[in-house]
């Protein structure tokens, strides 16, 4: 094993600047979309009084949970002492901060009164998980920045492990907190489930790693840095495992709902007759986002091909957006059980008359705002790797650690 050398991302300037220009253009368009929605009011969005959180939240929540998931790679290297992952720690931390920034920006830009952000930072209601999350998000950024320092600075070395543990615990709390935003709402059947907290953690593992792998492969490919088969095998297997864990939680969530008789209607609607939501659940979330990538990643031949691995990662991300669309929007579209045992025949407020789902179609400004958040995350990452030493020069097999255990560690017990 050779010494790992980190180096700035030195792709040709024209290539770099065109990438930045493209991302900046997306951000500019998102800023215009924000201005339009803020100036005109949310009526230009597809959101309404039934579906109050729309497409921007799908993007924001995806970025936030993927951010915490992206940090896993660093945690595995530091906390779980797998040296093969150590060279990836810096990029993992950078991507985590960048995606969190992107997600939070989208969230803030979608507020009815974004100019009152200062109110949200000076008035706290601590019975609200939302208020806790403000601290979880800001704390995450501070901790990950300290984590990056401990990885990159010689003086930070001794602090690397404790900061790594703190970062791991914090990211678990953060994603549980994000899931709990939905998981403790008694009003809506789909959200009255504490399992959403751990389920979001499991989803974050998969989405964060998929994004990380794509960024890693793109960054290395652009500059001709090598990634060895051993590293790819590790990441690939890990992604497949994470998809499996996410599927497990998805299964348990729905089985629990099916077991509870009062949620039969919800499950029937979601799994069989929910239109776009049923389609996105089965095709987007389960098939395209979970089963197909798992098949690719475990396939003896395809799993060795770079393009197929990239495809699997992209499918996981597509599945992630489908899943969050179903979780966030589908769960709101299903009519609330205002009067159990009754059918609402008429209502002046679209209360799910005759069991009808609430309408919602994302509008272009909402989608562009969300895309802007992704662009912010990628822009921060691109600038970060360009100006600082975040990426190792090589991840070839002769550079990365040969074994996942530290070689100099004393064995726990010697065979007699």
């Amino acid at each position: 094993m050779k010494r790992v050398v980190y180096r700035e991302w030195r792709i040709p300037p024209e290539r770099y600047w065109s990438l930045l220009g493209f991302l900046a253009a997306l951000i500019g368009i998102a800023a215009l979309s924000f201005g339009y929605m803020e100036h005109e009011g949310h009526w230009v969005s597809g959101m309404n009084n039934s579906v109050v959180w729309g497409m921007p939240h799908v993007f924001a929540v995806f970025l936030i949970i993927a951010a915490s998931g992206a940090l896993n790679i660093a945690s595995i290297g530091t906390v779980f002492r797998k040296p093969i992952y150590k060279p990836l720690g810096r990029l993992s931390g950078l991507l985590a901060v960048a995606m969190l920034m992107g997600g939070l920006l989208v969230l803030v830009m979608d507020l009815g009164r974004p100019e009152r952000l200062i109110v949200a930072m000076t008035n706290y209601n601590f019975s609200s998980i939302f208020a806790w999350n403000i601290f979880l998000y800001t704390g995450f950024m501070a901790i990950v920045i300290a984590y990056l320092w401990s990885m990159a600075d010689r003086q930070g070395g001794p602090f690397n492990y404790p900061i790594g543990i703190l970062a791991l615990v914090w990211r678990l709390a953060l994603t549980t907190g994000t899931g709990s935003i939905f998981g403790f709402l008694v009003a809506r059947q789909a959200y009255d489930a504490a399992i959403l907290g751990p389920m979001f953690v499991s989803l974050s593992f998969a989405y964060g790693l998929a994004v990380f792998m794509l960024v890693l492969m793109f960054g290395f490919e652009e500059e001709g840095r090598p990634i060895g088969p051993r590293m790819m095998r590790r990441l690939r297997n890990l992604l497949a495992l994470f998809i499996g864990i996410a599927l497990y939680f998805t299964l348990i969530y729905h089985l629990t709902n099916l077991y509870m008789a009062k949620n039969d209607g919800l499950e029937h609607w979601l799994l069989l007759s929910g239109g776009i939501y049923t389609f996105l659940f089965w095709v987007g979330w389960i098939l395209v986002g979970s089963l197909v990538p798992m098949w690719i990643l475990y396939h003896p031949v395809l799993s060795r091909k770079r393009e197929w691995i990239i495809g699997a990662c992209a499918l996981v991300i597509v599945g992630g957006f489908s899943a969050l669309y179903v979780i966030i929007i589908g769960s709101q579209a299903f009519p609330m059980a205002l009067f159990p045992g009754h059918t609402i025949l008429e209502s002046g407020f679209a209360d799910g008359v005759n069991g009808a789902a609430a309408p919602y179609w994302p509008t272009i400004p909402e989608i562009l705002l969300g895309v802007g958040g992704v662009a912010v995350a990628l822009l921060i990452t691109a600038v970060g790797v360009r100006v600082l030493q975040f990426m190792p020069e090589s991840l070839a097999d002769d550079v990365v650690a040969p074994d996942e255990e530290t070689l100099d560690a004393a064995p726990f017990a010697k065979p007699v």
Partner: protein, 268 residues
């Protein structure tokens, strides 16, 4: 007030004394006059003082609530909805977008709901609004504390603190809250509204704070002759609402959530 009381008292005093036992009759007359003054005066006094804006903080000595007798709520009548819209300036909202979109985006503080019992087919009409829970989920989840419950039980939104995150709308089991999706114009002084904030029924809080005795929906329903809605203090055992609640069976919507709502329904 004293003028009024004196006027009533003196009117009674002018009763002509008969020749028989004039002193006794005069005494009774004076006593009656004084009693009348004593009875009327506090009311007049309270009214004249309470008509001014309330300057003391609200206390939990009262808990405002509504009782809705669905048996009296008429099919097709929207008097309460119209009155609420007028009282709070919601009728000043201008439609935005397509008609169907506007239907889902406009602010609604009170709406008529027509229900059918799945088992028996029985039809019920009722008005739905913020249920003014004792333990409001909207207040729990609001990150800034904009969604709050007053000591007198009224749940409302502080428009200076509301950042428009809409989490309270996600949490409300009654779908009682609306988001102001568009610019507002011509709003009423007593009911400030603004784009990007959340709002809902506040039991005509401006009336509460000026000492008036009912809400717009209650008045309108009574005017229509239905009298399906009773407003009052749930803590006062002698209030009309408390008395009526003792007389007829009532329930809370989504009683399973144990939110102890201030709005009760009979006949659902």
């Amino acid at each position: 007030m004293n003028e009024n009381a004196t006027r009533i008292a003196s009117t009674s005093d002018e009763t002509p004394a008969s020749t028989v036992d004039a002193g006794r009759r005069g005494f009774i007359g004076t006593a009656a006059g004084l009693s009348a003054a004593a009875l009327v005066a506090p009311g007049v006094f309270l009214h004249s003082v309470a008509a001014a804006p309330r300057s003391e903080p609200v206390t939990d000595s009262v808990r405002w609530g509504l009782l809705i007798d669905t048996a009296k709520c008429a099919d097709g009548c929207s008097a309460c909805v119209d009155a609420c819209d007028r009282e709070n300036g919601l009728d000043l909202q201008e439609p935005h977008g397509s008609e169907s979109k506007w239907e889902h985006q406009k602010s609604v503080w009170i709406r008529k709901v027509k229900l059918q019992d799945n088992q028996t087919g029985r039809i019920t009409n009722l008005p739905m609004m913020c249920q003014h829970c004792e333990h409001p989920p909207c207040v729990d989840v609001c990150p800034t504390g904009a969604s709050f419950k007053r000591a007198d039980g009224i749940v409302m939104v502080d428009r200076h603190l509301c950042i428009g995150c809409r989490y309270c709308m996600m949490a409300c089991p009654y779908k009682a809250r609306s988001f102001i999706h568009q610019n507002t114009s011509g709003q009423l002084t007593a009911v400030p509204r603004g784009k990007g904030c959340v709002e809902s029924c506040n039991l005509c809080v401006h009336r509460r704070d000026h000492g008036e005795e009912s809400t717009a929906c209650v008045d309108a329903c009574a005017q229509e002759g239905h009298g399906a809605i009773v407003f009052g203090d749930l803590k006062d055992p002698d209030s009309a609402i408390s008395q009526r609640l003792r007389e007829i069976p009532s329930r809370q919507i989504r009683e399973d959530l144990v939110l102890n709502t201030g709005v009760r329904y009979a006949g659902v």
